[in-house]
């Protein structure tokens, strides 16, 4: 079964195009050709619209079948708090006024439905680059040149800041003691996190981002609650950061990174990523998102007992029985000079 398999990228220089879409229809604010930073707002939408239904007949004290003639606005009208919506009626000049500012969405049948103004959800660019296309009512397509490191889990947040390496060891665990005031506003990078208080301390500083190789899964809920982006490059547990990603990021310490910790959702085509924009490096080619497994390919193992280890495919023996007893397409992978393992091909991620 030599089908196309997805590729994970740890690239020092590439061109990437990413769709940044609102979860619901809204207003696109960016223009085609506009240069953006990761934190720029490119589109906005009302995620949680709030409505008020006003009974015109009751408000004016008139029969329901007479109420519509007193309505002063039609659907689509913007109104400010206190604006006259219906009336005035009678000697007492009874009137119905807007209790809050907003937009009339339905007017008629003796009722007015008002969508009140609430803070819109702002979609950040997430990447530094150029808006190369607009998606009507939904968002933008951004093109970036730079370094790309893809993750496996993100807490849904986006930010940018200066990358700071806590230590040279890819297995280094970040501890609460590492988070002092000198780290305020930084994007920190460490091997693993096993302590929930690190995550809350990051909120208190605050950090602008945290890039980890791994994190214990018991911290997942706390990581989701954090107000800064957290991204895992290798998985859950106490895995060191893979050497390829670590090397790339370590070499970029002190540079500004965009950390887009989107949830990895294959159906929505979103994946957590770290990008360092390098606009002065020409137009490198775009990396392919799919490849066919082949000998010599660099891969990452994505299942125990070799979870997150990198290696090279040395042989594709076809369908064999692997140590678990499962009969499946497998690959022989050399992990280091001394270790070669036979693993299901489904447990390999192609790296580029």
């Amino acid at each position: 079964m030599s089908a196309n398999a997805p590729v994970t990228h740890f690239l020092d220089l590439t061109t990437l195009r990413r769709e940044r879409l609102l979860p619901v229809s809204g207003k696109v604010l960016a223009r085609r050709g506009q240069r953006v930073n990761a934190s720029d707002v490119v589109a906005e939408a009302l995620l949680h619209p709030e409505h008020i239904l006003l009974d015109v007949a009751r408000g004016l004290g008139v029969p329901a079948d007479k109420a519509d003639q007193y309505i002063q606005h039609k659907a689509g009208d913007e109104v400010a708090e206190g604006d006259l919506l219906a009336g005035p009626v009678g000697m007492a000049r009874r009137a119905l006024r807007a209790p809050r500012s907003g937009r009339v969405v339905v007017a008629g049948d003796a009722q007015i439905l008002l969508q009140v103004d609430t803070a819109p959800f702002e979609l950040h660019a997430g990447y530094p680059g150029t808006v190369v296309d607009l998606v009507e009512d939904r968002g933008v397509v951004i093109e970036t040149v730079g370094m790309l490191v893809q993750g496996v889990w993100g807490n849904g947040r986006t930010h940018y800041g200066l990358l700071r390496l806590l230590g040279q060891d890819p297995a280094m665990e970040i501890l609460p003691a590492h988070l002092d005031v000198s780290q305020r506003g930084a994007v920190l990078m460490a091997g693993t996190c096993q302590d929930a208080s690190v995550l809350s301390a990051g909120d208190e500083l605050p950090l602008r981002g945290l890039i980890l190789g791994s994190m214990d899964s018991s911290l997942e809920a706390a990581a989701r609650r954090a107000h800064y982006p957290i991204i895992l490059l290798d998985g859950f547990g106490s895995l060191p950061m893979n050497p390829q990603a670590h090397q790339l990021l370590a070499a970029s310490s002190g540079r500004e990174v965009a950390i887009n910790a989107e949830v990895w959702d294959r159906y929505r085509n979103t994946r957590p990523e770290v990008v360092i924009g390098m606009t002065d490096r020409g137009n490198p080619s775009m990396a392919s998102d799919v490849a066919v497994h082949s000998v010599g390919q660099k891969v990452r193992l994505i299942s125990p007992p070799y979870m997150a280890r990198l290696g090279t495919i040395t042989r594709l023996p076809g369908v064999v029985v692997v140590p678990s007893g499962v009969r499946t397409q497998a690959a022989e992978v050399r992990l280091d000079e001394k270790t070669t393992v036979l693993v299901p091909i489904a447990n390999l991620e192609i790296l580029e």
Binding site: M1, A3, N4, A5, P6, V7, P23, V24, S25, L47, H48, P49, E50, H51, I52, L53, V105, V106, L113, Q115, D137, V152, W153, D216, S217, S218, E220, G235, F236, G237, W264, R266, Y267, N269, R271, D289, V290, I302, S303, P304, P305, Y306, M307, V321, V322, P323, S324, G325, V326, R327, T328, V343, P344, A346, N347, E349
Partner: protein, 585 residues
């Protein structure tokens, strides 16, 4: 392009799962339908290809290679009907389970009555009920409207009003739905399925017909004490197809190949079980089907043609795996583990597996974890499903599994288990059957395909449902009663076709295997002690039963119902190992 299945010869079944897409070919050989071959390829519904057609074509390519038959033309389209040169197929059916669960809002009058029925209807497909609205929640129209605008459901299921009952209250519940549909942009409006008081259908059409993609189904709660979900399932299947066609590229094309009959896999699986239950109606037992996949765990129970389908999207072995921990503790999963794994490692495994749903267990330890997860998922789904079983389902004791004959199980975690014994122990632990039943394994993953074809081509279902495809694991005798561990509770004597006999004295807590090869029949005499119920007419009653051979012959599961496991982890693991050893796993 599409064609009727009536009088059709060859049939292609496509099953698009979360992880794999399968193409399965049936044809008439020597006057009888047979499963000829299947091809499989990774499903391509998600990134980076985001088009199911790619996976379908790759599966078809493999099938063509294996079967030595051309099925796809130069235009990349399926050749229907078959051509004189032998290429193509006469009919195509397809089932789909890939994709995120449908986000559903269930609307009804009373939370515990019609709103519950709306929820129950949603759980007959790949769905997650994100909100329930009823008169009980005391929200006003705008409160409900805001909730709908915030949640943006794929589907709103409206139930309410018994036949001849309430109308006005139902209409008031429709207001918020109508407003939400009006306010949402056209392409983002939810599908609406009305399955309430039939007297309101015209009014519902008038108020919602122009605003939403409206589907009408039979009332799921025709009276306060009757819930009937089955008649509404075809409409739900149609909704599912609409939503998926909108969400996923390639669905429309496959649907066209099937003449618009693409089905949710779980519904097709349910059809197979319902059809079988009619065949087994004379046994007065139900037929049970269990299918465990990456997207969901499905339990289909049917009693003389009445289907009770339960699909738990939170209990799939894929991307939603961590959600299992919302329904049970790690300890509850640990109890099925025959190897020592720390809670931390187990939880990390769950989360990592969710990141890579297509990954396979590489070592015996990971295999043990997957089987423990499967066991727990089936057990939890069964617990949910049991509540809806009809009162006439025969059971030995309340809370235990009713009598079923047979039990059919499918899903890669079972069919690809290194030994059939592991699959059997997983099923016995998860289901804990009672009485006398046979357990068969859908080893070629054909059940949903046959269910999809069942309506138009029942002959195919009957002829393909043989022991080649559905491997008979064993006949299980599960005595129910109370006795001390080690006390004798049953005497069993097997008389084989050649006249020789084999006797077993079964003790409480034991798992005994009496060999009876596949294809052979034996006569099993059962004499329960201490008023144990072996499913032969009541407590303490015995008799002689004709049993069919299976891979493990006859298994007497006297481990107790419900199954009690030692609280000491080491002792529990030893016991689990012993049971696996008993069935050569």
């Amino acid at each position: 392009m599409g064609t009727s299945l009536v009088d059709a010869g060859s049939l292609l079944a496509l099953d698009i799962g979360t992880v794999f897409t399968r193409a399965i070919l049936f044809d008439v050989v020597e006057g009888r339908y047979r499963f000829l071959a299947s091809g499989a390829a990774p499903t391509t519904a998600g990134a980076p290809l985001n088009d199911i057609s790619e996976g379908v074509r790759a599966a078809l390519d493999q099938l063509q290679e294996i079967a030595g038959r051309t099925l796809v033309g130069p235009d990349e389209q399926l050749i229907i009907p078959s051509q004189p040169d032998g290429s193509g197929v006469d009919a195509c059916v397809a089932t789909l389970s890939a994709g995120p669960p449908l986000k559903v809002v269930a609307v009804g009058l009373l939370e515990e009555v019609s709103a519950q029925s709306a929820q129950n209807l949603a759980t007959t497909t790949y769905a997650q009920v994100v909100e329930t609205m009823s008169l009980d929640d005391r929200r006003k129209t705008v409160g409900r409207l805001d909730a709908l605008m915030r949640l943006r459901p794929d589907l709103i299921v409206i139930a309410g009003g018994t036949e001849g009952g309430a109308q006005q209250s139902v209409t008031s519940m429709l207001e918020a739905v109508g407003l939400a549909c009006y306010l949402l942009p056209k392409g983002q409006r939810p599908e609406v399925l009305f399955a309430g008081n039939s007297a309101l259908v015209d009014e519902v059409k008038e108020s919602l017909g122009s605003l939403a993609s409206l589907h009408i189904a039979a009332n799921v709660r025709p009276s306060l004490d009757v819930e009937q979900l089955t008649p509404a399932q075809p409409a739900l299947g149609q909704v599912y197809r609409h939503v998926r066609a909108r969400q996923m590229r390639g669905v429309q094309e496959v649907d066209m190949w099937t003449s618009g009959k693409l089905l949710p896999t779980a519904m097709a699986f349910g059809r197979l079980i319902r059809t079988l239950s009619k065949e087994y109606a004379h046994t007065s037992k139900g037929v049970l089907g269990v299918d465990i996949g990456a997207s969901a765990t499905t339990v289909a129970a049917a009693f003389s043609g009445d289907l009770f389908l339960n699909v738990q999207s939170r209990l799939g072995l894929g991307a939603h795996l961590p959600q299992m921990l919302e329904l049970c503790s790690l300890e509850e999963i640990q109890r099925w583990l025959s190897v020592e794994i720390s809670d931390t490692d187990l939880r990390n495994y769950l989360y990592n597996k969710a990141l890579y749903p297509a990954s396979l267990p590489a070592t015996p330890n990971e295999m043990a974890i997957e089987q423990a997860l499967a066991c727990q998922a089936i057990s939890l789904t069964m617990r949910q499903a049991r509540g809806s079983f009809p009162a006439h389902a025969v059971d030995s004791l309340p809370g235990l599994l009713p009598w079923f004959e047979p039990i059919i199980a499918g899903g890669s975690v079972l069919t690809q288990a290194p030994t059939r014994g592991q699959a059997l122990i997983t099923l016995l632990n998860a289901l804990q059957p009672t009485g006398i039943t046979t357990i068969a394994l859908d080893r070629n993953n054909l059940a949903a395909a046959l269910g999809a074809a069942a309506e138009a081509n029942p002959l195919l279902l009957i002829q393909a449902l043989d022991s080649t495809n559905f491997q008979n694991l064993c006949t299980v005798i599960s005595p129910v009663g109370a006795a001390n561990y080690g006390a004798p509770i049953l005497r069993a004597q097997m008389t084989y076709a050649d006249g020789h006999t084999s006797k077993v004295d079964v003790k409480m807590g034991a798992l005994e295997v009496i060999s009876l090869p596949i294809g052979q029949f034996g006569s099993l005499q059962l004499s329960p002690l201490h008023r144990f119920d072996v499913g032969m007419g009541g407590a303490g009653r015995g008799g002689t039963v004709k049993v069919m051979g299976g891979l493990f012959g006859v298994v007497i599961d006297a481990r107790g119902r419900p199954l009690g496991l030692p609280s000491d982890p080491a002792r529990r693991r030893e016991l689990l190992k012993k049971w696996l050893w008993t069935v050569n796993a």
